[in-house]
Symmetry: C2
Subunit: 454 residues, 2 copies
């Protein structure tokens, strides 16, 4: 068999079995107890790339190891760097999963597991496309490098620190990343913009021990009251973020892009139904897709303090805390945002409590130029696999490494996602459509061929 496309069609069962095996590994990077699973997931990816015929190595880092693989025997042809991650988000709250987060289960044509779409399933499409070319034609149409990391869900710290030293090894013309979504079922998309992110934790200390709220209430500042007073001021009633200087560098959406977004088939009513809410929310003056794609946002991601058990406990707790993050748009500088948040906390800390601000990770937003040859190649590949032209979209999520790649490797990323918006990434019952898994493999195989034509 000398045709990668027939090979892909006839290996569907094996691909699904392998993906299931991969998804069984609880490689949660936020949980230090899962180090052995991290090692195992890393090894799984390395073994797959090696058996596909690529020169493969595991690169140790200050954190979780990287998998690197290459095949560079297409002189004169462009070099593509495929990036992905083998780590996953924490699975909590566990009680809301219909089947175990690390017991992959197929229902209605979807495979359910933590990491199914983000990013094990999507990343694996490229591994299998490479294998299909190597096992049939015996070579790739272009030069390919692969770098798969294990800390994307906690800020890509290790690879980011190491990137300058990997500059030559990872040198490339384009980068290929599948860690996002299609626009809608059966509507493939090229993602040309990603938001940046800055994630913080705020810890508030009040009295040195938990107190009886009757005996001591009104005499010392309650850390939960303080926390709510502070975080309640983050966003005003028009959905505007109140961090000093937050909007200074935000570029307003231009008329052309506004029109392009408005032309996409999107219904607020359908979206409300999908979200299960009576009313949408967010910054006044922008459409839903604009708020999701081109406007910065602020979400409190977790909050804790005092008694959370059943019934009533009249405690004035010693401490409280919260995790919150901002999604940034192009031209916003994470360093300025951090300074603004520090100033916000300083301004709004009420007397009587001590605060500690921890910044988890920051990354700027990115927009890639539409109409460039690699983006056109991606469009043709998607059309071959899906049978229709893709649409061009932005994404509210962040892939911080895209920025670092641009800075260090001076290469743009081709972002084509095979997920769907209701895939429950970062929440219980994460899933990935097996149909799109296979179309993803097909797209990737076509893309290697299309890029050879540039």
């Amino acid at each position: 068999m000398a045709d990668p496309y027939s090979y892909i069609a006839s290996n569907r069962n094996r691909y699904e079995k392998e993906l299931t095996e991969f998804l069984r590994i609880p490689s949660v990077s936020a949980d230090s107890k899962q180090k052995p699973a991290i090692e195992k997931a890393c090894q799984f990816v390395a073994d797959q790339l090696k058996s596909a015929g690529l020169a493969t190595e595991i690169i140790p880092t200050e954190g979780n190891p990287l998998v690197y693989a290459e095949w560079l025997q297409a002189p004169g042809k462009p070099t593509l760097l495929v990036y992905g991650h083998y780590d996953v988000q924490p699975p909590e709250p566990l009680e809301l999963w219909e089947s175990g987060p690390f017991e992959p289960t197929v229902r209605d044509g979807n495979i359910y597991a933590r990491g199914a779409t983000d990013d094990k399933g999507q990343m694996y499409t490229h591994v299998k496309a490479i294998e299909a070319w190597m096992k049939t034609v015996g070579k790739l149409p272009i030069n390919v490098k692969v770098i798969i990391e294990g800390e994307e869900e906690v800020g890509s710290v290790a690879i980011d620190h190491m990137l300058p030293s990997l500059k030559e090894k990872l040198a490339c013309d384009y980068i290929l990343i599948s860690d996002s979504s299609m626009f809608a079922p059966d509507v493939p998309a090229v993602t040309y913009g990603l938001k940046g992110i800055y994630y913080f934790e705020l810890f508030i200390d009040g009295p040195k021990r938990d107190l009886h709220s009757g005996t001591f209430g009104g005499s010392v500042k309650n850390p939960i009251n303080a926390l709510c007073e502070m975080l309640g001021k983050l966003v005003d009633e028009n959905g505007r973020i109140q961090i000093p200087g937050f909007y200074d560098d935000v570029v307003e959406i231009d008329a052309h892009e506004k029109k392009s977004i408005a032309s996409l088939e999107f219904s607020d009513d359908e979206y409300k139904k999908e979200m299960g809410v009576h009313e949408l929310a967010g910054e006044k003056g922008y459409s839903t897709l604009e708020r999701r794609w081109v406007r910065p946002t602020c979400d409190i991601n977790g909050i804790f303090g005092g008694y959370q058990g059943e019934g009533a406990k009249t405690v004035l707790p010693a401490k409280a805390g919260a995790k919150f993050s901002f999604r940034l748009v192009p031209n916003q500088d994470p360093a300025k945002i951090e300074a603004g948040v520090i100033e916000f906390v300083r301004r709004h800390t009420p007397p009587g409590v001590t605060v500690r601000l921890v910044n988890h990770h920051g990354a700027a937003a990115v927009v890639v130029p539409l109409g460039s040859p690699p983006i056109e190649a991606a469009s043709r590949a998607l059309k071959s696999a899906f049978g229709r032209e893709p649409v061009y979209i932005r994404e509210g999520g962040s892939i911080p490494i895209v920025n670092s790649f641009k800075r260090v490797l001076n290469a743009d990323s081709i972002l084509i996602g095979f997920g769907l918006n209701d895939d429950n990434t970062h929440s219980p019952n994460e899933k990935f459509s097996l149909k799109d898994f296979h179309r993803g493999i097909l797209t990737s195989a076509h893309l290697l061929e299309e890029l050879a034509k540039i």
Copy 2:
């Protein structure tokens, strides 16, 4: 031996052993899994009263059972109703206890365990004082009824509902309750005022599932953001509670009481040290003791939502919630406060979320008349046991049943506490001074004699 006071002096070891046994029982009324411990604690109290020589019965209720005991063979003498509770607060957070909450341990003359002072230890002083009279003199100086309940920490619901039907059984001249604190170590006090309470839980529902905060942030209302925005408005920067109509019925402290409170030996600096804070807080314009005793307060007692684990998780959660309560002062009507809170929630619920408000329990504040014969008798009893005159104080905590007793039985309560402010009631490492435990028993024995003289 015909003298209850010598009997008390010579039975100290046995009292401590019995108290230890009582404190081992994890009778947490907020935790439905502890029902067997509730039954056991109830039976323990009943057995003790019976063996002291009182006619004793366990009265089933819609909730946790009551212990009732009586000795009514002092014709022409007043009848005293002793009230206490055998249930305790939840012990969480467990990791902060130096010894297990239900493994009573003596350190530095204090016994450490959940319920040591609130209220098992304090309530037990009266059981042992009654025993001392019965086992020596063979009778009590006055008529005594005892009612011990098992739901004080969750709002005294069952006894409150049942009280009208117990009106004749519990008919009395005075009620004796020890569920509060002395003013300071070696400074006994008669408590003439208690705050009321109203405890609420607020649940916020947003999207029907946890969402990726990047992909969906800015398009649907985040329930934690909504919660913080709402609760951040509960109290303004001057410490004034923003519930509509909240201060309408509050009576300002009169000059006489203001002077009396100011005359007590109290240092803000010492208090700061004891609390472990750099600065005190609360309503502007009032001293620390005034804020604790005569001004209404608002504390958020617990808050929860989103990711609380290690590291960063970029989730926009489906739900969030909080527990919060108000301490009320005389003349504030809990029903009006409830209406105000409902209105507050209605006014401040942002679009895009659904809220559910649960009211746990409410009780008005109470003040008992100073200078009355039973209060004078209590003063003399305290002086006999402690060797000095007591001071007169109020307390920020609530004993909701005091109000119900006044309403249904038309009797005032004598509130004499043997605890200390640093006893960690409702927090880890709750303790009770064994010295005060024994002085409490002595006080109670003297009080029976003093009340006979009225």
